[in-house]
Amino acid sequence: MKTGGGTLLTLAVFFATTSLFAIGGANSAVPEMHRYAVDVQHWLSNRQFSDAFALAQLTPGPNVIIVTLIGFHVAGVIGGLVTTLAMCGPTCVFAYFVGRASDRFKGAAWHGALSRGLVPVTLGLTASSATVIATTSSYSWLALAITLGTAITAFFVRVHPLWAFALAAVLGLAGLV
Protein backbone atom coordinates (compact mmCIF):
# COMPACT_ATOMS: atom_id res chain seq x y z
CA MET A 1 0.00 0.00 0.00
CA LYS A 2 1.19 3.48 -0.85
CA THR A 3 0.23 6.11 1.66
CA GLY A 4 2.18 9.09 0.41
CA GLY A 5 0.60 12.54 0.29
CA GLY A 6 0.89 12.47 -3.48
CA THR A 7 -1.29 9.39 -3.70
CA LEU A 8 -3.89 10.94 -1.39
CA LEU A 9 -3.95 14.09 -3.49
CA THR A 10 -4.34 12.04 -6.67
CA LEU A 11 -7.24 10.15 -5.07
CA ALA A 12 -8.88 13.37 -3.88
CA VAL A 13 -8.59 15.17 -7.23
CA PHE A 14 -9.83 12.20 -9.25
CA PHE A 15 -12.87 11.44 -7.08
CA ALA A 16 -13.82 15.10 -6.60
CA THR A 17 -13.79 15.58 -10.37
CA THR A 18 -15.63 12.34 -11.06
CA SER A 19 -18.35 13.13 -8.50
CA LEU A 20 -19.44 16.14 -10.55
CA PHE A 21 -20.12 13.83 -13.51
CA ALA A 22 -21.83 11.05 -11.56
CA ILE A 23 -25.30 11.66 -12.96
CA GLY A 24 -27.76 9.29 -11.34
CA GLY A 25 -25.38 8.29 -8.56
CA ALA A 26 -22.12 6.50 -7.93
CA ASN A 27 -23.02 3.49 -10.10
CA SER A 28 -22.96 5.74 -13.19
CA ALA A 29 -19.32 6.48 -12.45
CA VAL A 30 -18.27 2.79 -12.11
CA PRO A 31 -16.80 2.61 -15.65
CA GLU A 32 -14.81 5.80 -15.02
CA MET A 33 -13.51 4.46 -11.68
CA HIS A 34 -12.53 1.22 -13.42
CA ARG A 35 -10.80 3.05 -16.27
CA TYR A 36 -8.76 5.20 -13.89
CA ALA A 37 -8.10 2.86 -10.94
CA VAL A 38 -7.39 -0.29 -12.99
CA ASP A 39 -6.24 0.82 -16.45
CA VAL A 40 -4.51 4.15 -15.76
CA GLN A 41 -3.15 3.96 -12.17
CA HIS A 42 -3.00 0.14 -11.76
CA TRP A 43 -4.17 0.54 -8.16
CA LEU A 44 -6.36 -2.56 -8.44
CA SER A 45 -6.59 -5.61 -10.69
CA ASN A 46 -9.78 -6.36 -12.61
CA ARG A 47 -10.55 -9.03 -10.05
CA GLN A 48 -10.06 -6.68 -7.08
CA PHE A 49 -12.26 -4.05 -8.71
CA SER A 50 -15.16 -6.40 -9.31
CA ASP A 51 -14.72 -7.78 -5.77
CA ALA A 52 -14.89 -4.21 -4.40
CA PHE A 53 -18.08 -3.64 -6.37
CA ALA A 54 -19.60 -6.88 -5.05
CA LEU A 55 -18.64 -6.06 -1.43
CA ALA A 56 -20.15 -2.57 -1.73
CA GLN A 57 -23.36 -4.11 -3.07
CA LEU A 58 -23.47 -6.49 -0.10
CA THR A 59 -23.06 -3.66 2.43
CA PRO A 60 -26.19 -1.73 3.42
CA GLY A 61 -26.18 1.96 2.62
CA PRO A 62 -25.68 4.15 -0.44
CA ASN A 63 -23.82 2.70 -3.46
CA VAL A 64 -21.21 5.43 -3.10
CA ILE A 65 -19.33 3.47 -0.41
CA ILE A 66 -17.54 1.55 -3.19
CA VAL A 67 -15.23 4.60 -3.28
CA THR A 68 -14.43 4.11 0.44
CA LEU A 69 -13.29 0.59 -0.36
CA ILE A 70 -11.18 1.69 -3.36
CA GLY A 71 -9.54 4.42 -1.24
CA PHE A 72 -8.91 1.93 1.57
CA HIS A 73 -7.28 -0.48 -0.84
CA VAL A 74 -4.98 2.22 -2.20
CA ALA A 75 -4.03 4.10 0.97
CA GLY A 76 -5.59 2.50 4.04
CA VAL A 77 -8.24 4.04 6.31
CA ILE A 78 -7.06 7.59 5.51
CA GLY A 79 -7.40 6.76 1.83
CA GLY A 80 -10.96 5.56 2.41
CA LEU A 81 -11.88 8.76 4.24
CA VAL A 82 -10.23 11.00 1.62
CA THR A 83 -11.96 9.35 -1.36
CA THR A 84 -15.35 9.39 0.35
CA LEU A 85 -15.02 13.07 1.29
CA ALA A 86 -13.84 13.91 -2.22
CA MET A 87 -16.68 11.95 -3.83
CA CYS A 88 -19.38 13.51 -1.61
CA GLY A 89 -18.02 16.95 -0.62
CA PRO A 90 -18.39 18.99 -3.82
CA THR A 91 -21.79 17.55 -4.77
CA CYS A 92 -23.10 17.99 -1.21
CA VAL A 93 -22.10 21.67 -1.12
CA PHE A 94 -23.79 22.08 -4.49
CA ALA A 95 -26.94 20.26 -3.29
CA TYR A 96 -27.02 22.39 -0.14
CA PHE A 97 -27.16 25.66 -2.04
CA VAL A 98 -29.56 24.35 -4.68
CA GLY A 99 -31.80 23.11 -1.86
CA ARG A 100 -31.78 26.56 -0.26
CA ALA A 101 -32.81 28.16 -3.54
CA SER A 102 -35.14 25.38 -4.71
CA ASP A 103 -38.37 27.36 -4.34
CA ARG A 104 -37.21 29.68 -7.07
CA PHE A 105 -36.80 26.72 -9.46
CA LYS A 106 -40.26 25.30 -9.00
CA GLY A 107 -42.00 24.75 -12.32
CA ALA A 108 -39.19 26.34 -14.34
CA ALA A 109 -39.19 25.13 -17.97
CA TRP A 110 -35.49 24.20 -17.96
CA HIS A 111 -36.20 21.93 -15.01
CA GLY A 112 -38.13 19.54 -17.29
CA ALA A 113 -35.66 19.79 -20.18
CA LEU A 114 -32.81 19.05 -17.80
CA SER A 115 -34.34 15.88 -16.40
CA ARG A 116 -35.55 14.63 -19.81
CA GLY A 117 -32.16 15.34 -21.35
CA LEU A 118 -30.34 13.41 -18.64
CA VAL A 119 -32.43 10.22 -18.96
CA PRO A 120 -30.77 8.80 -22.13
CA VAL A 121 -27.30 9.70 -20.81
CA THR A 122 -27.97 7.94 -17.50
CA LEU A 123 -29.24 4.96 -19.48
CA GLY A 124 -26.02 4.74 -21.49
CA LEU A 125 -23.95 5.05 -18.30
CA THR A 126 -25.89 2.33 -16.46
CA ALA A 127 -25.49 0.00 -19.43
CA SER A 128 -21.75 0.74 -19.39
CA SER A 129 -21.55 -0.05 -15.66
CA ALA A 130 -23.28 -3.39 -16.17
CA THR A 131 -20.88 -4.19 -19.01
CA VAL A 132 -17.78 -3.26 -17.01
CA ILE A 133 -18.80 -5.39 -14.04
CA ALA A 134 -19.92 -8.34 -16.18
CA THR A 135 -16.68 -8.36 -18.18
CA THR A 136 -14.25 -7.79 -15.31
CA SER A 137 -15.69 -10.36 -12.90
CA SER A 138 -15.46 -13.56 -14.92
CA TYR A 139 -15.59 -14.97 -18.41
CA SER A 140 -17.05 -18.30 -17.36
CA TRP A 141 -20.30 -19.60 -18.78
CA LEU A 142 -21.92 -19.85 -15.37
CA ALA A 143 -21.10 -16.20 -14.54
CA LEU A 144 -22.71 -15.20 -17.82
CA ALA A 145 -25.72 -17.39 -17.03
CA ILE A 146 -26.09 -15.77 -13.58
CA THR A 147 -25.92 -12.29 -15.12
CA LEU A 148 -28.49 -13.03 -17.82
CA GLY A 149 -30.71 -15.08 -15.50
CA THR A 150 -30.78 -12.25 -12.93
CA ALA A 151 -31.41 -9.67 -15.64
CA ILE A 152 -34.36 -11.56 -17.14
CA THR A 153 -35.88 -12.42 -13.74
CA ALA A 154 -35.51 -8.87 -12.40
CA PHE A 155 -37.03 -7.47 -15.58
CA PHE A 156 -40.27 -9.43 -15.17
CA VAL A 157 -40.66 -9.69 -11.38
CA ARG A 158 -39.48 -7.66 -8.40
CA VAL A 159 -36.39 -9.33 -7.03
CA HIS A 160 -34.90 -8.30 -3.71
CA PRO A 161 -31.17 -7.77 -4.41
CA LEU A 162 -30.19 -9.81 -1.35
CA TRP A 163 -31.94 -12.95 -2.63
CA ALA A 164 -30.25 -12.61 -6.00
CA PHE A 165 -26.86 -12.07 -4.31
CA ALA A 166 -27.34 -14.98 -1.91
CA LEU A 167 -28.27 -17.41 -4.67
CA ALA A 168 -25.41 -16.21 -6.87
CA ALA A 169 -22.91 -16.47 -3.98
CA VAL A 170 -24.01 -20.07 -3.31
CA LEU A 171 -23.65 -20.96 -6.99
CA GLY A 172 -20.18 -19.39 -6.89
CA LEU A 173 -19.22 -21.22 -3.70
CA ALA A 174 -20.29 -24.48 -5.29
CA GLY A 175 -17.31 -23.91 -7.55
CA LEU A 176 -19.30 -23.41 -10.68
CA VAL A 177 -18.26 -19.84 -11.59
Partner: protein, 206 residues
Amino acid sequence: MNSSLIPAANEPPAASPLPATDPTAESISAPPSLAELFIAFAKISLSGFGGVLAWARRMMVDERKWMTAEQFNEAYALCSFLPGGNIINFSVIFGGRFRGALGSAAALAGLLGPPMVLILIIGAIYSHYGDLPALRRALTGVASAAAGLMMATVAKMVQPLFRNRAIVGPLIAIATFVAISIMHWPLPLVLLVIVPVSIAYAWAQA
Protein backbone atom coordinates in the same frame (compact mmCIF):
# COMPACT_ATOMS: atom_id res chain seq x y z
CA MET B 1 -32.29 0.98 -9.26
CA ASN B 2 -35.82 -0.28 -9.59
CA SER B 3 -35.14 -2.86 -6.95
CA SER B 4 -34.94 -0.04 -4.42
CA LEU B 5 -38.73 0.18 -4.43
CA ILE B 6 -39.23 -3.28 -3.03
CA PRO B 7 -39.73 -2.43 0.65
CA ALA B 8 -42.71 -0.30 -0.41
CA ALA B 9 -44.56 -3.51 -1.18
CA ASN B 10 -44.70 -4.28 2.52
CA GLU B 11 -46.30 -0.97 3.41
CA PRO B 12 -50.01 -0.48 3.93
CA PRO B 13 -51.70 1.01 0.85
CA ALA B 14 -50.79 4.69 0.65
CA ALA B 15 -54.33 5.65 -0.34
CA SER B 16 -55.96 4.17 2.77
CA PRO B 17 -58.36 6.71 4.31
CA LEU B 18 -57.10 8.48 7.39
CA PRO B 19 -59.01 7.66 10.59
CA ALA B 20 -61.58 10.35 11.23
CA THR B 21 -60.71 10.39 14.92
CA ASP B 22 -57.23 11.69 14.24
CA PRO B 23 -57.44 15.39 13.39
CA THR B 24 -53.66 15.78 13.27
CA ALA B 25 -53.13 13.05 10.70
CA GLU B 26 -52.58 15.58 7.91
CA SER B 27 -50.27 17.81 9.90
CA ILE B 28 -46.52 17.62 10.07
CA SER B 29 -44.49 16.86 13.19
CA ALA B 30 -42.11 19.29 14.88
CA PRO B 31 -38.81 19.74 13.01
CA PRO B 32 -36.19 17.09 13.90
CA SER B 33 -33.22 17.91 16.13
CA LEU B 34 -29.64 17.30 14.99
CA ALA B 35 -29.49 14.00 16.90
CA GLU B 36 -32.82 12.89 15.40
CA LEU B 37 -31.53 13.73 11.91
CA PHE B 38 -28.39 11.65 12.48
CA ILE B 39 -30.30 8.65 13.87
CA ALA B 40 -33.01 8.78 11.21
CA PHE B 41 -30.53 8.73 8.33
CA ALA B 42 -28.36 6.09 10.01
CA LYS B 43 -31.45 3.85 10.25
CA ILE B 44 -32.40 4.54 6.63
CA SER B 45 -28.88 3.76 5.53
CA LEU B 46 -28.56 0.48 7.42
CA SER B 47 -31.96 -0.85 6.38
CA GLY B 48 -31.40 -0.23 2.69
CA PHE B 49 -29.79 -2.80 0.46
CA GLY B 50 -29.47 -1.89 -3.21
CA GLY B 51 -30.96 1.55 -2.80
CA VAL B 52 -32.48 3.37 0.13
CA LEU B 53 -35.22 5.51 -1.42
CA ALA B 54 -38.17 3.44 -0.24
CA TRP B 55 -36.87 3.42 3.33
CA ALA B 56 -36.34 7.18 3.27
CA ARG B 57 -39.92 7.77 2.17
CA ARG B 58 -41.32 5.41 4.79
CA MET B 59 -39.48 7.14 7.63
CA MET B 60 -39.81 10.78 6.53
CA VAL B 61 -43.44 10.66 5.43
CA ASP B 62 -45.19 7.72 7.12
CA GLU B 63 -43.42 7.28 10.46
CA ARG B 64 -42.00 10.62 11.57
CA LYS B 65 -44.31 12.82 9.46
CA TRP B 66 -41.51 15.33 8.92
CA MET B 67 -42.78 16.05 5.42
CA THR B 68 -45.88 15.35 3.31
CA ALA B 69 -45.77 12.92 0.39
CA GLU B 70 -45.84 15.89 -2.02
CA GLN B 71 -42.92 17.60 -0.30
CA PHE B 72 -40.98 14.33 -0.39
CA ASN B 73 -41.60 13.88 -4.13
CA GLU B 74 -40.58 17.47 -4.85
CA ALA B 75 -37.38 17.25 -2.82
CA TYR B 76 -36.51 13.90 -4.37
CA ALA B 77 -37.14 15.08 -7.94
CA LEU B 78 -34.76 17.94 -7.23
CA CYS B 79 -32.08 15.46 -6.06
CA SER B 80 -32.41 13.20 -9.06
CA PHE B 81 -30.86 15.67 -11.50
CA LEU B 82 -28.15 16.95 -9.20
CA PRO B 83 -24.78 15.22 -9.62
CA GLY B 84 -23.97 12.55 -7.01
CA GLY B 85 -26.11 9.99 -5.26
CA ASN B 86 -29.80 10.85 -4.99
CA ILE B 87 -30.14 9.79 -1.37
CA ILE B 88 -26.95 11.66 -0.41
CA ASN B 89 -28.24 14.86 -1.97
CA PHE B 90 -31.60 14.22 -0.30
CA SER B 91 -30.00 13.96 3.16
CA VAL B 92 -28.17 17.27 2.61
CA ILE B 93 -31.26 19.10 1.37
CA PHE B 94 -33.52 17.57 4.03
CA GLY B 95 -31.17 18.29 6.93
CA GLY B 96 -30.49 21.79 5.63
CA ARG B 97 -34.17 22.60 5.34
CA PHE B 98 -34.70 22.06 9.08
CA ARG B 99 -31.36 22.86 10.73
CA GLY B 100 -29.19 24.66 8.19
CA ALA B 101 -25.65 23.54 7.39
CA LEU B 102 -25.31 21.65 10.69
CA GLY B 103 -28.50 19.75 9.91
CA SER B 104 -27.07 18.76 6.52
CA ALA B 105 -23.88 17.59 8.18
CA ALA B 106 -25.78 15.57 10.82
CA ALA B 107 -28.00 13.86 8.22
CA LEU B 108 -25.04 13.12 5.93
CA ALA B 109 -22.96 11.76 8.82
CA GLY B 110 -25.83 9.45 9.76
CA LEU B 111 -26.22 8.25 6.18
CA LEU B 112 -22.53 7.66 5.45
CA GLY B 113 -20.90 7.01 8.83
CA PRO B 114 -22.25 3.53 9.69
CA PRO B 115 -21.83 2.00 6.19
CA MET B 116 -18.32 3.48 5.98
CA VAL B 117 -17.33 1.79 9.24
CA LEU B 118 -18.83 -1.47 7.95
CA ILE B 119 -17.10 -1.34 4.58
CA LEU B 120 -13.73 -0.50 6.19
CA ILE B 121 -14.06 -3.60 8.39
CA ILE B 122 -15.07 -5.66 5.35
CA GLY B 123 -12.14 -4.19 3.40
CA ALA B 124 -9.71 -5.16 6.17
CA ILE B 125 -11.08 -8.72 6.21
CA TYR B 126 -10.89 -8.86 2.41
CA SER B 127 -7.25 -7.76 2.36
CA HIS B 128 -6.43 -10.81 4.54
CA TYR B 129 -8.70 -13.41 2.99
CA GLY B 130 -9.40 -12.01 -0.49
CA ASP B 131 -7.27 -14.70 -2.11
CA LEU B 132 -9.26 -17.62 -0.72
CA PRO B 133 -10.72 -19.42 -3.74
CA ALA B 134 -14.11 -19.92 -2.08
CA LEU B 135 -14.48 -16.19 -1.29
CA ARG B 136 -13.39 -15.25 -4.80
CA ARG B 137 -15.95 -17.54 -6.36
CA ALA B 138 -18.75 -16.26 -4.11
CA LEU B 139 -17.88 -12.63 -4.91
CA THR B 140 -17.75 -13.41 -8.63
CA GLY B 141 -21.27 -14.79 -8.32
CA VAL B 142 -22.44 -11.64 -6.51
CA ALA B 143 -20.82 -9.32 -9.06
CA SER B 144 -22.45 -11.29 -11.90
CA ALA B 145 -25.87 -10.98 -10.25
CA ALA B 146 -25.32 -7.24 -9.62
CA ALA B 147 -24.48 -6.75 -13.30
CA GLY B 148 -27.71 -8.59 -14.14
CA LEU B 149 -29.74 -6.29 -11.86
CA MET B 150 -28.28 -3.25 -13.65
CA MET B 151 -29.15 -4.78 -17.02
CA ALA B 152 -32.75 -5.19 -15.88
CA THR B 153 -32.78 -1.51 -14.86
CA VAL B 154 -31.47 -0.58 -18.31
CA ALA B 155 -34.13 -2.71 -20.02
CA LYS B 156 -36.86 -0.99 -18.02
CA MET B 157 -35.49 2.48 -18.82
CA VAL B 158 -35.24 1.64 -22.53
CA GLN B 159 -38.96 1.00 -22.99
CA PRO B 160 -40.27 4.57 -22.52
CA LEU B 161 -37.30 5.96 -24.45
CA PHE B 162 -38.25 4.11 -27.63
CA ARG B 163 -41.89 5.19 -27.57
CA ASN B 164 -43.20 7.62 -30.20
CA ARG B 165 -40.56 6.43 -32.65
CA ALA B 166 -38.04 8.65 -30.94
CA ILE B 167 -34.60 8.53 -32.55
CA VAL B 168 -32.46 11.12 -30.79
CA GLY B 169 -32.93 9.76 -27.24
CA PRO B 170 -31.85 6.20 -28.13
CA LEU B 171 -28.98 7.58 -30.25
CA ILE B 172 -27.72 9.59 -27.27
CA ALA B 173 -27.93 6.53 -25.01
CA ILE B 174 -26.03 4.41 -27.57
CA ALA B 175 -23.42 7.14 -28.15
CA THR B 176 -22.82 7.37 -24.37
CA PHE B 177 -22.48 3.60 -24.14
CA VAL B 178 -20.04 3.36 -27.07
CA ALA B 179 -17.90 6.27 -25.85
CA ILE B 180 -17.58 4.85 -22.32
CA SER B 181 -17.66 1.06 -22.78
CA ILE B 182 -16.00 0.57 -26.16
CA MET B 183 -13.82 3.64 -26.70
CA HIS B 184 -12.96 3.89 -22.96
CA TRP B 185 -12.96 7.69 -23.16
CA PRO B 186 -12.84 9.67 -19.87
CA LEU B 187 -16.26 10.34 -18.37
CA PRO B 188 -15.90 14.15 -17.96
CA LEU B 189 -14.90 14.53 -21.62
CA VAL B 190 -17.83 12.42 -22.84
CA LEU B 191 -20.42 14.14 -20.66
CA LEU B 192 -19.23 17.67 -21.44
CA VAL B 193 -20.14 16.94 -25.08
CA ILE B 194 -23.18 14.70 -24.77
CA VAL B 195 -25.09 16.32 -21.88
CA PRO B 196 -25.42 19.79 -23.48
CA VAL B 197 -26.53 18.20 -26.76
CA SER B 198 -29.11 16.02 -25.01
CA ILE B 199 -30.51 18.86 -22.88
CA ALA B 200 -30.63 21.25 -25.84
CA TYR B 201 -32.61 18.67 -27.80
CA ALA B 202 -35.03 18.09 -24.87
CA TRP B 203 -35.40 21.87 -24.56
CA ALA B 204 -36.16 22.26 -28.27
CA GLN B 205 -38.78 19.49 -28.10
CA ALA B 206 -40.67 21.15 -25.25
